[in-house]
């Protein structure tokens, strides 16, 4: 059996405003894209091929679902025009639809099913041309695509139901419903150390954090000390929850930062947007919540500056002999002589440094990276007070990046970058969230940990 899923973005204006660039099928219910639930259901129903028909293509969706290899099925993509009827949809996808029994899911909705139940029989026992409605979509089944041109309502009792997804309230309610009552019904991302607790990979949980099930925490999330998560909380991928914040009956979406000491209850947060379930309304927040302003205080600023220079000096003393020997040994090998100009501060002042070591992928280049010799030029800049020892990854100067750092409240470049320690892809949203967070929450202990992390990570690259 095959399945054809069809959606038009114009059906979901409220979701579009709140979730900005996210495709409605990528909006997550309990940390899993809404489309993935439909896909799982189609697979349980015996589908081996799925076609996704959309009016607006979406890169993130493509990257996530790809050709379906992860699910062991074949996923193909097609486009449709606005207001294409079911008949037109079948005509445009004739080759796909005509060869075998077909399941069509049109619109945006959620299917309540149970992963342990058998869904192989309902369609075999149903008459062809059956359908099941909810207010935002329809599920259709035909023994051939042509049967779907003559439909009747499904009279047979089936072991699944449809719930509409039209508003933020629907997304919030469905997440709470899945967390509270249906967690065992679906394959959800993460491992479960305890019943009704699901935790993703690489999650950092600070000291005295309280976890109250049911809850789900996605990959790379950071919960700082004394946060209270749950009951009924979904924390998205790469989200950062600052110290002492309490989250219950709430959804924090991917890469969202929540400030210190907040209480989030019956809400859904996406970046700077906040949806309140009791009020059934959402608003744009200003940056106070997203990144809290922490001004460097006099004494600690000078102390940090002194420690920075001292540590840089020690590192230089340690690295310089190796660096000089290395320069002599490699004076005839191919080198990348590259001067980079970066922003020194939020005001747009600049500093430059030259990278004149062997190219990174050569053995000599890898050796030099392993010993962090590529940082020597930057360490000199630390000594002169231009940059910090540990700070933000230096942002190269360009008109676009100037706009970026002007809104980057605590930007301070460092020889060793925060996101470098976490091996985040430069330019990614994960990197920006992490850089902004650590810049706003600088601590000497954190800096030392970051520095050691990078030095060890570099050494490991050679081994």
């Amino acid at each position: 059996m095959k399945a054809l899923f069809h959606i038009q973005q114009s059906d979901t204006p409220e979701l579009k405003d709140f979730f900005a660039e996210t495709h409605p099928w990528m909006v997550k219910i309990a940390n899993k894209p809404s489309l993935e639930y439909l896909l799982d259901f189609a697979i349980l129903s015996g589908c081996t091929e799925v076609r996704l028909v959309m009016d607006e293509p979406d890169l993130a969706l493509r990257n996530y679902f790809g050709g379906g290899e992860r699910w062991g099925i074949k996923i193909s993509y097609a486009s449709c025009s606005e207001n294409d009827s079911l008949d037109q949809l079948l005509t445009k996808n004739t080759r796909f639809c005509d060869s075998e029994p077909l399941l069509i899911l049109t619109g945006l909705f959620f299917i309540h099913y149970h992963k342990d139940h058998n869904y192989q029989d309902w369609q075999r026992l149903s008459a062809s041309g059956m359908m099941l409605h909810c207010s935002t979509g329809t599920l259709l089944y035909g023994k051939t695509g042509n049967d779907l041109r003559y439909l009747s309502d499904m009279r047979k009792e089936v072991d699944f139901t449809l719930s509409p997804i039209r508003s933020l309230r629907d997304v919030y309610d469905l997440t709470m419903q899945v967390l509270t009552f249906e967690q065992e019904h679906y394959v959800l991302p993460g491992y479960g150390p305890e019943k009704n607790i699901l935790i993703g990979r690489n999650v950092e949980i600070g000291r005295q954090v309280e976890l109250h099930p049911p809850l789900i925490i996605a990959d790379d999330a950071i919960l700082l000390g004394k946060t209270v998560v749950g009951p009924n909380a979904a924390i998205g991928k790469g989200a950062i929850i600052d110290r002492g914040t309490t989250i219950s009956n709430a959804v924090v979406t991917d890469h969202t930062y929540l400030g210190k000491g907040l209480t989030l209850s019956k809400k859904m947060v996406n970046g700077g947007r906040l949806f309140s379930a009791p009020d059934n309304d959402w608003l744009n927040l200003n940056d106070d919540l997203f990144v809290r302003i922490i001004e460097p205080q006099g004494a600690s600023y000078f102390l940090r500056s002194a420690i920075n220079r001292l540590a840089a000096l020690l590192l230089l003393v340690f690295l310089l002999p190796a660096w000089i020997l290395f320069k002599i040994a490699t004076c005839f090998t191919e080198k990348k002589n590259h001067t980079t100009t970066c922003f020194k501060n939020k005001g747009g002042n600049l500093f430059s440094y030259t990278y004149d070591l062997p190219v990174r992928e050569s053995v000599a280049g890898r050796f030099c990276r392993a010993l962090s010799l590529n940082k020597v030029q930057l360490l000199v800049k630390v000594l002169s007070g231009t940059i910090s020892l540990v700070g933000n990854r230096p942002v190269p100067s360009s008109p676009e990046n100037l706009l970026l750092i002007q809104t980057f409240d605590h930007y301070h470049p460092g020889a060793f970058g925060y996101s470098e320690a976490q091996q985040l892809t430069p330019g990614s949203l994960e990197e920006e969230t992490s850089e902004r967070f650590f810049a706003a929450n600088r601590k000497i202990a954190n800096d030392i940990r970051t520095l050691l992390n990078i030095l060890i990570k570099n050494l490991r690259t050679f081994v």
Binding site: P57, S76, Y77, S79, S81, T91, K92
Partner: protein, 112 residues
């Protein structure tokens, strides 16, 4: 690029094979200039393994000409490897796409 064309009942079915890039643009433009210009076109692209902005521009130009004669251009059997270029330029919203050439041709007669 190999171009074959069959014109019946005011509908031209043009089958393309090979790389439809800027280097092939002139060849395409010449191939679609007939003494008799049909109203509608179906471009069958199953054999196309690459398309760039030059190729897409040719399709848009053909669509404009067809629209002047109250016709249109539909795309049939587009392979996934070139669908990417249509998505990047949002051309997938401009052209109706069918996975069967016969259905694309029939869709004209259904609407006429």
């Amino acid at each position: 690029m190999t171009i074959t064309k069959i014109i019946t009942n005011d509908i031209a079915v043009i089958t393309l094979q090979g790389r439809f890039d800027s280097a092939a643009a002139d060849q395409f433009r010449k191939a679609v200039q007939h003494d008799f210009l049909p109203a509608h076109y179906v471009i069958e692209m199953e054999g196309v393994n690459y398309i760039d902005s030059g190729g897409l521009g040719c399709l848009v130009s053909l669509l404009r000409q067809a629209q002047k004669r109250s016709g249109t251009v539909k795309i049939a059997r587009i392979p996934s490897k070139i669908f990417y270029a249509f998505e990047l330029t949002r051309m997938n919203r401009i052209f109706d796409m069918y996975d069967d050439t016969g259905m694309a041709v029939n869709s004209f007669t259904a609407t006429n």
